[in-house]
Amino acid sequence: MAAAVEPSNIQLSYLDVDRTAQRVMAPAGLKYWLWVAFCAFLVALGGAFWTRQIYEGLGVTGYGQPTLWAVYITDFVFWVGIAHSGTLISAVLFLFRTRWRTAVYRCAETMTIFAVVTAGLFPIVHLGRPWFFYWLCPYPNERFLQPDFRSPLTWDFFAISTYLTTSTLFLSVGLIPDIANMRDISIGWRKKFYTILSCGWQGTDSQWRNFSMAYLLLAGFATPLVLSVHSVVSWDFATMQTPGMHSTIFAPYFVCGAIFSGCAMVLTLLLPMRKWLQIEDLVTVWHLDNLAKVILFTSLVMTYSYGTEAFVVWYTQDPIEIMTFTQRFFGLQGYLAIGMILCNCVIPLILFSPRARSNTVILFIISIFVNIGMWLERFVLIAGSLATAQMPSQWKFYVPKLTEVLITVGSFGWFLMNFSIFTKFLPIVSMTELKEGITWLRKAGRERHPYRKAA
């Protein structure tokens, strides 16, 4: 799908917006269901291997001393990271009144929900005795024994669950007016479905008044929350004494990385979607271009963070830190770190070129690279640092086995399946907000190839 000639948006009307968005939810064809079935198959695969792992014990994985955290925690951090850009686009950019967010924020927010749901699975997958995971949550019991709130993992539990609740509520509040719209146009069981979901919304002035206020405050809460959540995730590692992790830079560094990977994932989802669901005139090159700019910026910040990390290691003059750092890049698994630098710092530089930013194919490829790079980063930080810790006699590098790989693949299937189903039954672009900012949409249509004019 090369940069297709965009349909003109100049006289885009409210109804056009509605129709385009509603067309997405038209009853699905065979292709769609095949795709969902494929995802479901991946889920089943991962599920089967997880079942086996629970039954036989974690021994079926490649885990061992000293890398007791590896792929699963990597996946956890990766998915949480993916989640964050959603909240960023929907909440932070909302507070900044950024215009281009209207078209992409619903998609990003949906992605957030399912990414968090996916991420939430991994700490449980990773447990030695997963059936006791609820011990992390305080509840009345006969031992009067509650979790230790000092532990970063307990922080995680609270942060992630709060995050899931908040972003779900945020999404559903934003959905209500659109669902009401769907209710009005649909018939049959869908009618009932939307009637219940829309809770009888009618868009009266008082409703809109409370809606705006609630929405604003939710955004206001989500913004510090998204920062805190990934800081907490980063403290899982920063509070450890393990060399290569024990660093105060981790919180900002992780948050930025999260936004970076998240925006990349938004692109990865959006580009095929807007092609296949034919919403090009709602999600225009202008929007993509802005997303690409965010990615470029965060990539630069990541490069800076890597530099800072290296500098701090050198500055401490701690032989253990220095050895771990050198092992990360020149040890047995140095190629992973090199690949991480390539994907996160070098390849995104292409986005400096306006043409690249307006070329969907290039954007797609770059976004894939960034996803890979960010996964590698987490893996290198976690498994790599643990592999070369304080006791040289205990050094050992980790190599995953089939179980971890398939469970990871299954998690992608799980994420995509949920997302695809969502797109069919709930509006994946926010009609309300697009109509609100329709002038900007028209403008975007007029300048649909903003940089071609120069050529």
């Binding site: 014990g57 007791l68 447990l127 030695g128 899982d236 040289p392």
Partner: protein, 986 residues
């Protein structure tokens, strides 16, 4: 009858309890309670009983105490009353339990049909078959019955002899693969008596060992490890602070050499020449003591050919080195001792002469009156019997122990001979290679199930008593022999007075009482012996003189060494292969190479380069060798897996004995190679040529890097620094007490701590075996060790430096590492569910049933001493009989770690409270400290400044340090630095 019933009931209880133990939390304990009919008033269920007995794992004959609970022996501990072990025990001794509870033990007699298939038969049929054949053989003529077995102590050996005579035969061979024959021969030549002397290393100032690995396998390792530790203790001599000088002469730097000042890398088999060279220097320098009263002229002629310069080509040892160690030896004011190991007679001869001429007879090397006669047969006798078998002069061959088919060099001679014998009977526990030759298998009792006696040295009479009812319906070997004599051998057989082995032993002890003239009544004497595990007396020392004749007989100077020599050495755990069927011994890493579950070939990097092998120890998994070489031997080509190490002499391929079993149970079968199978008789080295083959086989080790990278893990300091009282400078800046954010936590009552003396630790790994036994630690096997899943709570950390490169300090650092029980434990605050928390007695507690397996704690542990259960542990019946009922068996998915043996601590505290008294210092001993032969580990109360443990810290305050202090974890374990003397001086 009540006995039988109670046994049945405890077996049931045992089974159910252990089955339940396998899944903590899910399964309630045994559902049925089966009472005794008549209770044994000495036995309280839930309270252990202790039986003193002797260890039969090697010829050292240490006394041990068996800890028995509900009729099951669950742990072996050293017998404090025994003068040899003095309460310590080695890894092999601990593992006797796994011989007792080995799942591969033969349960019923078997006979091999014509088609070679084995069928189980009843005891009576087996006995009948045996007796008929024996009777027939005895009728057929003299000496048509042969017995090949291991020495089992004087009384039982006498029974065996009697049995053979009853069957009109004298062909009885007591076979020991690594026998003391060479030493005895040398002693006979030098002093006219074939006794073994005893050594007092602790009273020497210099030790030179010519191939005697005295802290690993040589003679009596437990005893010598203890003596050596005292020998290495810094003590004031002639005004100044000093430690003993020790040198080890041999082609490989083993644990013994690692603890010595000097590793003299001599060519294989040239230890004797080196010894003569040392003697040469001693003589020429005029260090021969007048008191010795030897003919110096004769000495001079004897050693004339062994001038260090001239000989160094053959030995590969520089004259300077020889002069140096000779200097240590000759100039030692405080006594010196030379030890010799291995089969080379010249080494033993020279060592004895050295001790004699330096006037150390009766000081560091002592002959005792009434020393036991040789227990094993001479090579000549062995050969005679084998020849007789080959010539078809033997109709019935009884193989009972010693596993000759595996250990007899060269490879197949014994097998061929055995195949010409009419009936080969094998009696033993786990069917081994020798059993494969036999057509009748008889299951015998394990040493811990039967009566024995032992007489390792003059004045030490050990009594081995059964410590539990037999696990299998087996029978004691000597009951079988006595019965067969009684039933099959007619009047000659009836002559044997004993009813059974117990009878024989007790009779022997009545005789013994007469011999040593003990005043007690016979019953009293017998009871005391059973209570103390024997009778221990100080034997009178014998003054011997060096026979002048020995100085006349000159031995030929060895030729130049071959470019490439294969040299085999006894494995510290598997010894001559008898340990190979015990999972603990297979899984505990060899202290130097750290290889598990395999046999390896160590070669020097130079040799490796010549052979074109890749240098495989630069990666993160050091020493996990993968290259294979093929060596040519008289008995065909052999494939070896190479591990490249600077700790072996160039041009040498060092291979351990003990592996390469084709039988002998599931744990031993099909691992590595067996050097006995291709090494010629009477030597351990063989000139070979090797070529690299493009096959790979992975050696597995739990070890990562062997380079300490200048971190504060194991420290050594020079004697001078210690004398001056200055802290050694390791180039890192000193950490003074950092700023504490929170007020320190107060430990009101006890606060448990440990002091570990790196200087004493020899890496013998007895602590690891003890920990496996005490704490129900699972064995994970080779594949899982490779994945980094070894479960041992305490490990022997070992770091090496290339001996060529280092200026000062030891080439190998060895120390035990266990949970440091930190006050600021990094593992604790990261646990989300309080599974890891601190007790009010300063212990870092791991609560298994609260653990959900986040593994955060181990990630945050700087010492990496926690272990995670990747699978549910499996203890194959009857190995599960050994489980300690006081310790939970951890299930899959939980973290576990060293507890300082909390079960012992709580038991002692409960006793103290109920008896309304304070805890006595030394009342609580963790398993590791209890087992340690070198007494390197001491445990006690940090809050009690008078506890032995704290005293040890104070007395050695110059040497104390804690591991990785920069993490400010405040460990409760304090280490004492290793001490070395500068190469420059001394």
């Amino acid at each position: 009858m009540s006995d039988g019933l109670s046994r049945r009931s405890f077996i049931k209880l045992a089974a159910t309890a252990s089955a339940a133990a396998a899944i903590p939390g899910c399964e309630p304990a045994a559902r049925k309670l089966i009472p005794y009919v008549v209770p044994d008033e000495n036995l309280i269920p839930g309270v252990p009983t202790f039986y003193a007995t002797t260890c039969a794992e090697c010829s050292a004959g240490c006394g041990v105490v068996a800890r028995v609970m509900e009729g099951r022996v669950i742990k072996l501990e050293g017998n404090p009353a025994d003068p040899i072990s003095q309460g310590a025990i080695c890894a092999r001794g601990q593992s006797a339990l796994q011989g007792l509870y080995n799942p591969d033990r033969l349960a019923k007699p078997h006979r091999r049909g014509g088609d070679g298939k084995l069928t189980a038969i009843e005891w009576d049929d087996a006995a009948k078959l045996l007796n008929d054949q024996l009777a027939a053989a005895a009728k057929a003529g003299k000496d048509r019955v042969a017995f090949v077995g291991a020495a089992q102590g004087p009384a039982l050996d006498k029974v065996t002899q009697a049995w053979a005579q009853a069957y009109n035969s004298s062909r009885v061979i007591f076979w020991e693969a690594f026998s003391d024959e060479p030493a005895r021969a040398a002693a006979e030549a030098c002093f006219g008596r074939p006794d073994l002397p005893i050594y007092r290393l602790d009273q020497a100032e210099t030790i030179i060992s010519f191939g005697a690995d005295f802290v690993e396998t040589w003679d009596s390792p437990v005893e010598y490890a203890r003596q050596f530790a005292q020998f290495r203790m810094p003590k004031t001599r002639a005004g100044g602070l000093s430690i003993g000088h020790a040198a080890y002469v041999g082609p490989r730097l083993n644990a013994t050499a690692a603890k010595c000042d000097e590793w003299v890398a001599a060519n294989p088999g040239s230890e004797g020449a080196v010894a003569m060279a040392v003697l040469n220097v001693v003589v020429t320098q005029g260090w021969v003591s007048q008191a010795a009263g030897v003919d110096v002229a004769a000495l001079k002629t004897l050693v004339a050919d062994y001038d260090p310069e001239k000989i160094s080509a053959q030995t590969g040892v520089s004259a300077a080195t020889i002069t140096k160690i000779a200097g240590w030896f000759g100039q030692a004011t405080d006594g010196a001792v030379a030890l010799a190991g291995g089969p080379d007679p010249q080494a033993h001869l020279a060592a004895f002469i050295l001790n004699a001429v330096s006037g150390n007879l009766g000081k560091t090397m002592v002959f005792l009156d009434g020393a036991p006669a040789r227990a094993t047969s001479s090579l000549a006798d062995v050969r005679a019997v084998i020849d007789a078998m080959r010539d078809g002069q033997v109709d019935v061959l009884v193989i009972a122990g010693g596993n000759p088919a595996y250990t007899m060099p060269p490879g197949d001679a014994f097998k061929d001979a055995a195949n010409r014998v009419g009936l080969v009977v094998w009696a033993g526990e786990v069917p081994d290679e020798s059993a494969e030759l036999a057509s009748l298998w008889l299951p015998t009792h394990h040493a811990l199930e039967s009566w024995r006696d032992s007489n390792p040295r003059a004045g030490v009479y050990g009594l081995g008593q059964p410590v539990m009812q037999p696990v299998f319906p087996s029978r004691p070997l000597h009951d079988i022999l006595i019965e067969s004599a009684h039933l099959g051998a007619g009047t000659a057989g009836q002559a044997i007075a004993y009813e059974n082995a117990a009878d024989a032993v007790s009779t022997a002890w009545q005789e013994l009482q007469g011999k040593i003239g003990a005043s007690a009544t016979p019953k009293q004497f017998w009871d005391d012996a059973r209570r103390h595990g024997g009778v221990f007396q100080a034997a009178k020392e014998n003054t011997v003189k060096l026979a002048p004749a020995v100085l006349a007989q000159k031995s030929p100077v060895p030729g130049a060494a071959a470019p490439l020599t294969l040299w085999a050495f006894p494995h510290i755990f598997l010894y001559d292969g008898r340990g190979a069927n015990k999972p603990w011994l297979q899984e505990i890493p060899d202290p130097i190479t750290q290889v598990v579950w395999d046999s390896w070939a160590e070669v020097h990097p130079e040799t490796a380069k010549q052979l074109g092998l890749v240098k495989d120890y630069e990666g993160a998994r050091l020493f996990a060798g993968i290259n294979m070489v093929e060596i040519s031997t008289p008995s065909g080509p052999i494939e070896l897996t190479v591990t490249i190490s600077p700790l072996v002499k160039p041009g040498v391929i060092a291979v351990p004995y003990g592996q390469g079993h084709t039988s002998y149970g599931r744990y031993a079968r099909g691992i590595g190679v067996n050097p006995f199978a291709f090494l010629p008789e009477g030597t351990r080295n063989l000139a070979v040529n090797a070529r690299k083959i493009d096959k790979t086989h992975k050696l597995v080790t739990p070890l990562g890097k062997s380079d300490m990278m200048g971190r504060t893990i194991i420290e050594a300091m020079s004697l001078n620094d210690l004398a001056k009282g200055v802290e050694p400078d390791f180039g890192e800046e000193k950490i003074d007490q950092p700023y504490e954010m929170y007020p320190p936590f107060v430990y009101a009552g006890h606060k448990w701590g440990m002091t570990i003396d790196v200087n004493s630790c020899t890496g013998c790994s007895a602590c690891i075996a003890a920990c496996y036994a005490e704490n129900n630690i699972q064995v994970v096997g080779k594949a899982n060790v490779d994945l980094g899943r070894i479960m041992s709570w305490i490990r022997v950390e070992r770091y090496i430096r290339d001996p060529e490169e280092i200026k000062e300090g030891p080439p190998v650092y060895i120390a035990p590492v266990l949970c440091q029980q930190c006050d600021h434990a990094p593992c604790e605050p990261v646990c989300p569910v309080f599974a890891s928390s601190h007790t009010s007695e300063g212990l870092n507690a791991q609560i298994y049933n609260r653990c959900i397996g986040t593994r955060f704690c181990e990630n945050n542990c700087p010492y990496k001493v926690r272990r995670f259960n990747w699978y549910a542990p499996e203890f194959i019946e009857p190995l599960n009989f050994q489980l300690n009922p006081d310790v939970t068996v951890r299930g899959a998915g939980v973290m576990e770690k060293c507890t300082f043996c909390i079960q012992r601590i709580t038991t002692a505290e409960i006793d103290a409270r109920t008896e309304d008294r304070k805890l006595i210092d030394g009342e609580i001993i963790p398993a590791c400290a209890q087992a340690c032969p070198a007494r390197a580990i001491s445990f006690g109360d940090i809050n009690d400044p008078n506890s032995a443990m704290m005293k040890r810290r104070d007395d050695n305050h110059g040497r104390t340090y804690t591991m990785l202090p920069e993490f400010n974890a405040l460990p409760a374990v304090t280490y004492l630095r290793d001490v070395y003397q500068e190469k420059g001086k001394a």
